[in-house]
Subunit: 406 residues, 2 copies
């Protein structure tokens, strides 16, 4: 049985937390100096697990084993959202590293755990560009077109500045891996509120995103009577409130929806907004539910436009691709949870996107979650209890062992 | 009776439109190159009216007459809102110039019209800094602290760059003027919809402004169930809609209110906003009405906070100072409207702020409005029919003559 070193797992996570620290979290946007230093930290560690390290031309770190026998791929990512938490990404990478460290040198194990850190899972430059590149879904033209959402810097410039331009990108060797396993913090409070230690991920929801634009009439905020106004901002506010009133009747049990951004045009205190735009997102693992909700949004937009004050335009700007996690991998994680987490596990879908959904397009893939304190995520206060981190590492390594032993 | 040259008025307005043209309007922020060229254009024109021109240390243009007898001050402003209309400001300046050109050389008139273009009425750097300086209400420290709302450039740097640093600021000579008259486009549709030519302004409303901040809990938009969210953006949208439902029961007949700006924090599609802020404005000429509405806002904020999801903070960031226009000046404009506009005038308050409210703190002040096509303002499509422009110029000059003749 793998002999996971909990103190070593915590020490590695704290080492990564110290690179690009921000309050109790980190600030490591993709291709920032602390991100690159984190990649190098991992590359330096991989030989401890008998793995040869490569940082490829898109910033993926890959550790490959010379051992014969089955290979299991495991990993996550090392960059962070801006000013965000210390475990979102690094937890899964360190678990994979630890599993490889305890399993690969074991002469009784046939095969090896190989480790990956996928670049830009957090989407600073695109959507799963690192894992997407590994599975063969990213073209050179895609990279030409990508740029940093915050700074506007092109991905080509970023790759050149960090010294990765010109390096080959590593593609998956078909048939090499029996599957992919990724650990992650839950980022919600299902585990914590249920007193559970492990979430066995059954599916990863798809993300559908919409730009909803309102056109009214820009005018002077002092001289335009209330009765004749065509206030695009007010129309947007009404729409947000109406969504919240009407979605519950049609959504599924786990559907979530969010207005993450609002912009008024021109956005000045003395001008009635002539335009307004909201970024709206829906997540579910059932496309049929999304179809119903999107129909409702279109009906609502038509209703507002028909009232004659403001017109509403709905554009779908992202289409979700829900992914089903492999049954045998779920079974292995459950068995490991029975052995190392007192059976305190639950099967659950992932409401967040993860690289596992990309790997799932070419091999069996699975995930496990550990609890997030207060369910907080994408914020520097994100945290997990040390005991839960260690339990998760043990379950992860045991699941890897069981998968290799099948 | 003054012999206004309508073609000359239109030609002057088109000359100013040609400086800093943007589509059919203009883009002349304060201290921009086209703004400074417009000030010089006026300084060059003032001698045609027997006036000596000065551009002072805050960018006010002042034309003073050597004639004996009463002096009437008249004017408006030459800078524009960003990418805005051609008449908002220049109309009043050219009317003042034309009135001075026809009245000042007339040996039968005792006294003169003096012309002013007040700097920064549009508030790029502050609130009525030009007219405020003239009435003695702007200190050197106020100028030290002022900066461009768009670019952040300090007012000191701007004054230096346009060559005004070190020039003295001209202060009003107490007792010199019998009053101040300003013409402006209405910026609303009261005149147009009533088939009227002239608005006789009775008062200028005050502007009260508020920053309303919502604090919830920032979290992951995929993993946080709807029932446990503390979405500050949704709380803000509900608040906007609630204002629109509850204000009508307490407001006055001409109260207007506007949410001109909304910001979500952090404003990303996959993050539930933990913070949200709206810029909210109320205008009225009756502070008692504002008191009622502000009480309602505080009650609403307390109600939302008491519900326990999000807390609301209300800050008043600007307090309105309504101004009453002088009765004798209103009477003169009415008489002139009977003579030159077929009696098609109406007494009305101004929903927009104007330099006249600042001049009213030290001398009798009045305003007249001409129609705005479609009520459109603060937009490059702003316009007024040529016939209305010429009628307004005739009424303006005649009102000046009547005031000097009293």
């Amino acid at each position: 049985m793998p002999d996971v070193d909990g103190a070593r797992v915590l020490a590695d996570l704290h080492a990564l937390r110290g690179i690009g620290a921000y309050k109790t979290g980190v600030h490591k946007p993709t291709f920032s100096e602390p991100h690159m230093r984190s990649l190098e930290w991992l590359a330096d560690k991989l030989p401890e697990a008998g793995l040869a390290a490569t940082i490829d031309g898109i910033g993926n770190v890959l550790g490959t084993s010379p051992k014969s026998g089955p290979k299991l791929l495991a990993g996550s990512h090392l960059e962070s959202q801006n000013f965000a938490g210390w475990l979102d990404g690094p937890l899964g990478v360190v678990y994979a590293l630890e599993a490889a460290r305890v399993i690969n040198p074991d002469p009784t194990v046939n095969g090896a755990v190989e480790v990956a850190a996928w670049c830009d899972e957090e989407g600073h430059f695109g959507s799963f560009l690192g894992s997407g590149s590994y599975v063969g879904g990213v073209t050179e033209a895609d990279i030409d077109a990508a740029s940093d959402r915050s700074s506007g810097r092109s991905m080509r410039d970023a790759l050149r500045d960090v010294g990765l331009a010109g390096r080959p990108r590593v593609n998956a060797e078909r048939g090499r891996h029996i599957g992919y396993l990724e650990a992650h913090i839950e980022q919600g409070e299902t585990l914590e509120s249920g007193g559970l230690a492990i979430g066995v991920v059954t599916s990863i929801v798809g993300i559908w995103q919409y730009r909803i634009s309102f056109s009214g009439e820009q005018n002077h905020a002092g001289t335009t009577r209330m009765g004749v106004r065509k206030d695009a901002g007010l129309a947007l506010a009404r729409f947000c409130v109406a969504i919240d009133g009407r979605f519950p009747a049609l959504c599924g049990p786990r559907t979530v929806w969010t207005t993450g951004g609002i912009t008024l045009d021109p956005g000045a205190p003395s001008i009635i907004p002539g335009g307004a735009e909201m970024l709206f997102q829906i997540r579910d693992d059932d496309p049929a539910i999304i179809d119903r909700l999107e129909d409702l949004l279109r009906t609502m937009a038509t209703e507002v436009t028909a009232q004659g004050r403001c017109s509403v335009k709905l554009e779908r700007i992202r289409t979700g691709v829900p992914a089903t996690m492999d049954g045998a991998i779920q079974y292995a994680v459950e068995g490991a949870s029975l052995a190392f987490a007192g059976g305190k596990f639950v099967r659950m879908p992932s409401g967040a996107g993860h690289d596992a959904q990309v790997l799932a397009t070419i091999m069996p893939a699975g995930m496990l979650f550990v609890p997030s304190i207060g369910g907080i995520s994408h914020h520097w206060t994100e945290n997990t209890a040390d005991a839960d981190i260690i339990t998760g590492a043990q379950v992860f390594a045991e699941a890897c062992r069981r998968l290799l032993a099948r």
